[in-house]
Symmetry: C2
Subunit: 199 residues, 2 copies
């Protein structure tokens, strides 16, 4: 892990901005606070992002590229077989979960500020196409509404990562900090989804 002072200023501002906007909201956070938290001088937000709104845009953009790049790549290649389909669903679920966990602050900012990450609709539509392709190949039930169930896995991940502290407090399970539990949780959820869609 890099020491804080080895991380480039722009990156530190993105991290601090995401952390503070997630905690206090965009309106509740001053440029001064972001710079203090990132340990930079006061004009650095202006220098790198033009304004506080520019910083927010860059944070949301970071979510797009950081979270959806790997999953989109998994959906992009043609399916070779049913096994290929199943293992891609599995990798998709795990890769998306890991990305949401890694970028959890940014996720909270995106929700709180009702931002529109550019890559999300693209990811959604590719997921639907992916399921349609699997249907054409006979892996998925004919009567499945691929466009309506595509978000099932994503919503599951999204809710659990968003609500993680609440869940830990109320149930003691820790998806973010307990790799053993995370593994079992992934398997159990993929199992239901896959059984739910297969022909």
């Amino acid at each position: 892990m890099k020491k804080p002072d080895e991380i480039p200023t722009r990156e530190r501002l993105l991290t601090s901005g995401a952390f503070l906007f997630a905690e206090k909201g965009f309106n509740g956070t001053s440029v001064r606070k972001v710079c203090e938290h990132a340990n930079t001088s006061l004009n650095m937000v202006h220098h790198y992002f033009g304004s506080k709104a520019g910083l927010l845009d860059a944070i949301v953009e970071q979510f797009s590229s950081g979270v959806f790049l790997v999953p989109i790549r998994l959906l992009d290649k043609p399916l070779r077989s049913k096994d290929d389909f199943l293992s891609r669903i599995e990798m998709l679920f795990e890769a998306t979960l890991d990305a949401y966990i890694e970028h959890r602050s940014v996720l909270l900012v995106v929700i709180r500020e009702q931002a529109d990450p550019k890559a999300l609709p693209e990811f959604m539509s590719r997921f639907t196409q992916f399921l349609n392709q699997a249907k054409k190949m006979g892996y998925v039930r004919e009567e499945l509404h691929t466009d309506m169930v595509m978000g099932f896995l994503l919503d599951r991940i999204y809710s659990q990562v968003q609500l993680a502290p609440w869940i830990k407090r109320n149930y003691g399970t820790d998806l973010l900090g307990d790799p053993e539990y995370k593994k079992k949780w992934c398997e159990a959820n993929i199992d239901v989804f896959v059984n739910g869609i297969l022909s």
Copy 2:
């Protein structure tokens, strides 16, 4: 529908409080603003709820009773048959969706303030028991991790209701305002879940 001045003061304060806390957060909302919005005199929050924190507690409590009363009742009675199990899953999904839609402002407050609605853990544990009972009766696959998949439907509902304005803006579908779409969406999601858990 009642006219605003026919609704009791306490109820108007709960509605206005939920609306404003959802929009601006608990810290970003003054008692004065709540009273103005509810069209009451300034001491009414104090009179009914003791303080702004008391109003928040009452709003969260309202979420507990308003949202989980019907679903808990659906889980409570012993299962008679597989058909009974299937129709209860269906009713559970639709009743919970309707309750989340009706109490959407309160839901947003609960998330934003990281509150702990008392009835939610009870609902969760009854849902698990319900699936365990179905497993005992042979309706549900033996290898299903009932405790880990119990939240699948809830997370789906929760995410879609929370993100409804964003989804409408980006995809044009309207779960809150389009009954035809809502019906199809419910059917498609119940179909996947049920196929995913049945033996």
